[in-house]
Symmetry: C2
Subunit: 489 residues, 2 copies
């Protein structure tokens, strides 16, 4: 599919005209539309699907925000902007964007207030379990590795996942429904089943600016004029096998690409088509969601050397990202008591490859160098007895001797376990959301937000649940505010 | 610096006209010029420096080629195309380009013949030591991890580094001199101290093709017409701090960027400026060159957990790439006998942080979890006694018990050791060297080779010395041949 931009002079007639055209009606697009509208712009949304929500609707929508949000305060957490900033800079590694992280940390509490002002409900309560998602209507949850080494030693931890006040894993649908209502209330024109095909530019070359969008509706092309510009909120590219092979092929074999079917990178491609710059295209979220049950965290992961390689109390995305870089096989070794009945229960789709009333029995069924698992367990159990995981610093609350009867799960990619992944690379944007050019400066009339842009979350091993929906709503809102005050052309 | 392309219609007068303009006179550019000339094209080279050679001249030029080269056969190695292909596909990981690797494996022997036909001298001999470079005039050397696990178990190893017949580490200068002579013999017009500023295109937009180059000579701009097109051979981007920060920031702190000062990514930027696509921009060579002396390979590297993490007989680039992803500190633990006199000798610029007549004395000076190094050494020494490194599969020839007196080097990045790095990302090109567009297909009139393109070597942990000069000369030659048969415009 080619995204070569169309020339304005080739437009025979405009089907639609507005200040701002938003491409994609997920979390980012909705917030961009709301913010642009509130700043006085007329807004049109085009969405390929027949309903709004995008990947946000499919998510748990545990919005990752901190620095002293209303809910954090109500529950009694004294989170600081500096701890959020430090944690996000550190966990996103050398590619972290200090300006974006700074804005996100400083704006976190206010952004939650904004969501609340739109009617998004949060209950001042906390779920204290180690969970992937909140099945009650409680709000706060640790969704990253804040309490895990090494971060726990550097920044004061606080729960920053904000789950909506809704029973079951229904945060995404509820958020979508509320944002849809807010968009409708503002009189935004919404076009479903409308695919963005190409950007429209005033000219080719250095004077180029984006002035509209070619869309396809009912098998016909239409031209939507955007007087202030276009905001690309079309998601990431995990569903585009060709792009994944080109930029992040490690996410193909034995991984499950998650997102909505329209995460095909079309927004990124449109950005590239007018000279936008893509960055961090190799990175993504890659997880082994191995809890609940939380008791599996009492186990230890060992690699093909029979050695541990991570503190098992870290966020599941960190575990997954570490795991895929090990020598295989990788096993999770547990007490049967922490696993439950392995005849009837099956966790994380990983096969139970060994069980044992004795350690000898266990190891005889595993493909590991002789004696090494015994040594690893001996060391771990000694550390447990002394109360400190001296090698990987798993928190004391998760330390429990691993003793017979044992069970071992094969967590090697390809053996059965579920490794969900999605992309974290995209268009480079300013903190306001303007798309950066491969030349100097930005591309006039073009913004991007959510996973079409490269935002706050940048590394699989530093990811926290809720940081994509957090970043999408935050960056969408920033882009909407900013484009609304662009000069009209 | 902006690389916005110039319109042909804005050219007031052409200073020069040829079929092909080659940007950059390193290994890739020289071979592109020779090949294009031999295919009947008139060629102009522009080079920012005042002499030829680029980063090739600074290298050892151990040209990585296999599949049964003349020298491999003469020395008695029966290397096969399939073993080269398998090894390169595997060691370059999921991002390996099967078409490029196939062409390189199948064309290796013939490419060496071509170099020999140009007068590049190779002696039918082998250096059997584990060395980083060849200080004698011997030819063959293992320059990758072919003999190391896991590759040794999958593909028949053969030495593929081809060192030129010259004493000392002088392969790069000699290769440069020979290529220069060959270029001159062909009457190629060479412009030194001439900086490529911008590409010239016939128009902007979908009909665009590259038709020339703006250069700066003597503080004046000149316009060089290229009737068949331009070949970008301007090196990688390791010397451009802004680009490194944008695409591969892990190569900044405590690393040494190696290359020539003009490895500023200008070729990549010019490619991007006309809609070229860049891939693998996060990757690079990153090494801890810890041999010679080869005896250091008898030691073991341990990480902050006091655990080994790699087979120490792997190529130094593989060691470096693994090392930086460990928990720090990272130590190299050795017998003093293998280190030599630590009062007078200093290897790899890494400080000797501990010595010991006993193990207790050694560990007391290291920052490691109590008891773990003891356990690691016990396991290793047991394995040595039994003749098999059961954990990391270091080859038996490198197994030797580690016993008192001990010495430990601090190899943590930042502690003093030298971590050279350069980039392995660049413009995506076809196997012929045409630059791929962000739209479909290629950019008419634009080729790229060497480190301006993303070629055969794609991963730091799978790199082999000589694969950049090998790839540069091979891809330069391919691009030169291909552009020469382009239709003239």
């Amino acid at each position: 599919m080619s995204f070569v931009p169309m020339l304005e002079s080739d437009v025979t007639s405009w089907s639609d005209e507005s200040d701002v055209v938003v491409v994609g009606f997920g979390g980012a697009g909705a917030c961009a539309a709301i913010a642009a509208s509130d700043a006085g712009a007329s807004v049109v949304i085009v969405e390929a699907a027949s309903a709004s929500g995008g990947s946000t609707a499919l998510s748990s929508a545990e919005i990752y925000l901190g620095g002293g949000t209303k809910i954090q305060k109500a529950v009694g957490y004294d989170d600081s902007v500096e701890d959020v900033y430090g944690y996000l800079m550190d966990s996103n590694g050398p590619q972290a964007d200090p300006k974006k992280v700074r804005a996100y940390a400083e704006g976190g509490a206010e952004h939650l207030d904004w969501l609340i002002s739109l009617g998004v409900p949060f209950k001042p309560s906390e779920l204290k379990e180690r969970a992937m998602m909140v099945l009650t209507d409680d709000c706060l949850l640790y969704t990253g590795s804040e309490k895990a080494w090494p971060y726990s030693t550097r920044y004061k931890p606080a729960p920053r996942g904000h789950n909506l006040e809704v029973e079951g894993d229904n945060g995404g649908p509820l958020l979508t429904q509320i944002l849809l209502q807010q968009v409708k209330q503002r009189g935004v024109s919404i076009h479903y089943e409308t695919r963005a095909l190409r950007l429209i530019v005033n000219c080719y070359g250095p004077q180029q600016r984006v002035v509209g969008l070619v869309v396809r509706q009912d098998m016909q092309e239409h031209y939507f004029r955007a007087k202030k510009g276009v905001v690309l909120c079309a998601g990431g590219f995990i569903m585009n096998e060709e792009m994944v092979r080109e930029y992040c092929p490690q996410f193909l074999d034995n991984k499950t690409q998650i997102g909505n079917p329209n995460d095909t990178g079309s927004g990124i491609q449109m950005g590239l088509s007018v000279g936008g710059r893509a960055i961090n295209m190799h990175e993504g979220f890659l997880s082994l969601p191995f809890y609940p049950p939380a008791t599996l965290t009492f186990g230890i992961f060992v690699n093909g050397q029979g050695q541990r390689f991570v503190n098992e109390d870290a966020y599941h995305g960190r575990i997954g990202s570490f795991l895929v870089n090990q020598s295989y096989p990788v096993y999770l070794i547990l007490n049967v008591a922490d696993y439950g009945n392995y005849e009837t229960e099956s966790w994380l789709q990983a096969p139970v490859v060994a069980t044992g009333e004795t350690l000898d029995e266990l190891v005889s069924e595993l493909k590991l160098p002789a004696g090494q698992l015994e040594q690893t367990l001996k060391r771990f159990n000694q550390d447990v007895a002394e109360g400190t995981d001296t090698l990987f610093h798993k928190d004391a609350s998760w330390l429990k001797a691993i003793e017979a009867p044992f069970v071992a799960l094969d967590c090697t990619p390809g053996a059965g376990a579920f490794f969900p992944c999605f992309t974290l690379g995209g268009l480079d944007t300013t903190v306001e959301g303007a798309v950066c050019s491969v030349h100097e400066g930005v591309i006039p009339g073009l913004y991007a937000a959510g996973r079409t842009a490269c935002g706050v979350p940048r590394r699989g091993d530093g990811y926290a649940s809720g940081s994509s929906v957090g970043d999408a709503t935050f960056s969408g809102r920033m882009a909407g505010c900013s484009i609304a005050i662009e000069e009209q052309v």
